[in-house]
Subunit: 610 residues, 2 copies
């Protein structure tokens, strides 16, 4: 038996060094040392996203997956899939930009309305006289007496975590402190006069968007974003749930990964604001049901298999300390209720922030992502009806040959002219792939130009249609002009993936309209939420049949409404009550059990007749 | 520089092996590996309790402390103090019985009245239908619906710790479970039909007494006791507080020591009852203010220095999980309020269990320990008045040459006759030392026999009075008849220690009577609580002037009333309300600031004129 051996692996250009053992793939080894490579399949050799270039050293030879995904030339040049490659000596590895989960564009802002703050936590400044032998009141009693006298606040208690901090803080600060009080509970005590802050988070499957907010004024103090670090365990929800179900440590590892990132965001926000962690006294985190289950380390096995049941659907208020978040010692985190296993707290937040629960128009709300949630509201119906479509990650760039996230070099606008292709890329960088809005534009343009037919088939007779590894393809950028030294193409397989996604969303919209007895011509408003939705060219989306051509409808692109909803619930008790009402009263419509689902799905895959 | 070196040390007769380094005393080394040796001074070389015998190997030579405390013969025979001895080779050590903190007699039972249960937590048996694609209610919603339907219990929530257990328990047990509900919160879910149990604890400075109770019936299911493992860090409260104030890790270490012991007691109780940890859904832990602060890891620096202020005086309800206790995932621990820095939750529990707050007699309640708490109740006074006397640990056997805890071989009764001494020892074992009741008996007998005078001085002219290392002494058991092969004696220094203790208690009683305007002849009842108090010969205590000769008073020895009070608060919400009232309304009387304290103390040190 050879003894257990590890090799030094250096990743360029980031300069990361790590140790890889014989039986751990470079993908796994990188992940274990905190370097997350892109992956849609979670390291199963299927998606081709974790490409690396071996610059020097010995590895295992390419396997069948790699021979299928990588071209002969790529393999000759040392290109490999990190998940299929094992070190056999010390290595130097080049990581292309596209394989790194960093630097993508995050959309946080929004033009939704502001609401009046009515927060859970209030701040009270108090000054006390120090104890003497004649006045030996316990420290907490002294604080309570001062709060009652100066502010009329009585009947308070505090958790041991808060009580542990009190005695030294009082003595180190001349007995003048700010007490943060939530209901009847002191959640934190800080020196001098400080304002209470809150942390609003949209915990997306792909991206995490966060705000730091002044709870008293509702003012946004800072915003920050980060990729969801669980991406290394599978790009889509089901891969992650399967990872956790299969690995005894999975639940703990995935929870701690995302909690670490939340702390990094807190760090950044607190730093930007010149505040302290002890001032962050409340939080609201929204996400789909799987994301909130993983964050809370709740069981997910029953969520990953039919009938796909959530462990918890009600709102959960959990101690920030239990999640390991750097906040005030008694701070809590509010996770709003969800509507179902596939319609989560993020959808509740979106409905809230778009006022879909209170509007008097016939409105559709669509939040496009790996799962696309749709809600419909119309006067006369008792409340909202919602549905979830398994649209897949195609619009986020996954499962698309040259798909990528909305990062530098991503093609975001496409116009196919008679003689060529007009493109816009993010940061005007040389093109390396297509992000969601580019994919929609390109597909619409292929159809408009007659390069694909109504069924999505490339016209192989057209000389602009090439013949690639996956059959017919269209070249958007030749290798010579691209940022990756490879052709940027859209293939027959890509078009098919996009058709599956649009088929799902189209079917969902149609069924919701039918189920609520809403003729399409009555729809007055279509609210498109989500980061992808806000960069989208709506006309392209209609042209390719992703969105229906609704005669009266106004399309409104509102950006990340989920994080705005999270902020509302953070600063307003009334907003939390509305969220409970939305989750409790919204009818969930299971699409897949709808009689004509299959037919509607298939019809939705077709491109619209012009 | 010699390299860091450790030696193997074997402790006989228990067979414990451990590694000791050059600069760590054998006392410290033993403590670090979980072997706690007796110590009143916390390893400072003052108390002489951590005696060991070096059977083989090289050590550092005896230091001045050892030369002062140990006789020349003892040193020649290899006797040492573990706290002053450092290994210089591998060693074999003999640990005498008296130096081991084990095997002492614990008094848990009591003849106090029973109360009707009205617990915080109730158990509900429910059966659910499993989910289907048509019924995808989340697991927790399904449970709540079943609780509402079968038992009319609504509006419940649960902590994430409970929610984490729910999904697998439901699926593994055919959807039939018992839910334990506290107020509006589900604190645990267990398979099948189970009764809810509670854990009542008196966390004494020296001993821990615990009960497991059926919350629904109030029935005692099992009892267990253990020494407080913090004894190795100092026998008295102040030594432990100083240890924590001086050592950055002290707070964590002392808390985790006592939490481990609580878990061992839980283990034993659950095993005896054939129950599971998940059934233990509530707890009440009483102790003096320092003990509860150390358990909760609250700051104690301000408690150890004037003006001796508690961090918290109100009751604290803390998650059992936060204390690391093996109980139901949502179980909480109730720590009752205290009256002051020196009058803790244990005194509140004692007052409660003795009904001192509700009585209509003029009553004194006395709980003798390292600190002795006294409460007085009389008709006409608005409520109770209490005080705390720094009586020291003499009555628990500490600071007494041959003092020991109430363990096998301890002399518990003494009668000095004209010709000799009649003794009773615990377990009728050969005498090795004196426990508290033996010390009181012996002192009373020395005075009655004229061997000491009213000022406590030995009559050196009496031929029965010997001349020992600490001056005059009286030999109770000669070495030849003892279990330790040493004379068991009571010395002039011992008598002085006892006088200090009785002086403190006497002064406390007198001042409380004066402060409340109570002539001694009006006292109708004296309740003596605590384990020491229940083995005590009351007449001896009166004869030696520990207790006043009160003309009308009935003495009642009620045993460990604190743990009975803890049980009451565990099973009854009304008892908790009474405890809050006791703590809130009892007047604390600081003895040391009373004008004539010094004089009363000095008078109390005298033996009574007969």
């Amino acid at each position: 038996m050879p003894e257990a051996k590890t090799f030094q692996v250096q990743f360029q250009p980031i300069g990361k060094r790590l140790a890889a053992s014989l039986d751990v793939s470079l993908f796994e080894a990188a992940r274990e040392s905190g370097l997350d490579l892109a992956s849609a399949c979670g390291g199963e050799g299927n998606c081709g996203q974790c490409r690396i270039m071996v610059l020097s050293g010995e590895t295992t030879p390419p396997n069948l997956d790699e021979e299928f995904i990588l071209s002969e030339l790529e393999l000759q040049q040392g290109e490999r899939l990190a998940c299929c490659t094992f070190a056999r000596s010390d290595l130097t590895i080049q990581v292309p930009r596209e394989s790194l989960i960093t630097g993508q564009r995050l959309q946080i802002g929004s033009d939704l309305r502001e609401i009046a703050p009515d927060p859970m936590v209030h701040a009270y400044l108090v000054t006390m006289v120090p104890p003497t032998l004649e006045d030996i009141r316990p420290d907490f009693t002294r604080l309570m007496d001062a709060l009652a006298e100066a502010h009329g606040v009585t009947g308070l208690s505090a958790s041991t975590a808060v009580l542990r901090t009190l005695s030294p803080i009082l003595r180190e600060n001349n007995w003048q402190v700010t007490a943060f009080v939530r209901g009847q509970e002191v959640v934190g005590v800080v020196a001098g006069e400080k304002r209470p802050l809150g942390f609003a988070v949209d915990l997306g499957t792909t991206k995490i968007a966060a705000y730091l907010v002044d709870l008293a004024t509702g003012e946004d103090l800072a915003s920050a974003g980060a990729p969801n670090p669980q991406i290394g365990y599978g790009e889509d929800v089901i891969s992650r749930l399967n990872h956790v179900s299969r690995n005894p440590e999975g639940s703990r590892v995935l929870a701690s990964k995302v909690r670490e990132t939340l702390n990094e965001l807190l760090d950044e926000l607190v730093y930007q604001t010149e505040a302290t962690f002890e001032q962050v006294v409340d939080a609201c985190i929204v996400g789909n049901t799987a994301m909130t289950h993983l964050l809370l380390q709740l069981p997910v096995r029953q969520l990953a298999t039919a009938p796909y049941v959530a462990a918890v659907g009600t709102s959960v208020t959990v101690a920030a300390a239990e999640l390991g978040l750097s906040m005030a010692p008694g701070a809590t985190v509010y996770i709003p209720p969800c509507i179902g296993g596939f319609v989560g707290a993020d959808h509740v937040a979106m409905i809230l922030a778009c006022d879909l629960d209170e509007g008097n128009k016939t409105s559709l709300g669509v939040d496009i992502g790996t799962n696309t949630e749709i809600a419909i509201r119309k006067p006369g119906l008792s409340f909202l009806t919602s549905a979830s479509c398994a649209s897949g990650p195609a619009f986020e760039g996954a499962h698309i040959s040259d798909g990528m996230r909305a990062a530098s070099g991503a093609i975001e606008k496409v116009r196919i002219t008679d003689t060529g292709v007009d493109l816009t890329t993010i940061d005007d960088a040389p093109a390396v792939g297509l992000c969601g809005s580019g994919i929609v534009d390109a597909t619409a343009e292929l159809y408009r130009s007659g390069l694909i037919n109504q069924r999505g088939r490339f016209d192989k007779g057209n000389k602009r249609v090439g013949d690639g590894r996956f059959g017919a393809e269209f070249c958007l950028v030749p290798a010579a002009n691209s940022g990756s030294n490879r052709d940027v193409v859209i293939t027959q397989k890509d078009v098919n993936e996009i058709q599956l996604a649009k088929g799902a969303i189209h079917a969902g919209l149609q069924i919701l309209l039918e189920a609520t007895g809403t003729p399409p011509e009555e729809v007055e408003e279509v609210i498109i939420a989500g980061a992808f939705g806000s960069f989208l060219n709506v006309q392209s989306a209609i042209d390719m049949g992703l969105f229906p051509e609704l005669p009266k409808a106004q399309y409104r692109q509102v950006g990340n409404a989920a994080v705005i909803g999270a902020k509302w619930m953070l600063i307003s008790r009334e907003a939390r009550q509305r969220a409970e009402k939305i989750a409790g009263n919204t009818t969930y419509n299971e699409l897949t059990t709808y009689p004509k689902f299959g037919r509607k799905f298939a019809l939705g895959m077709l491109f619209p007749e012009s």
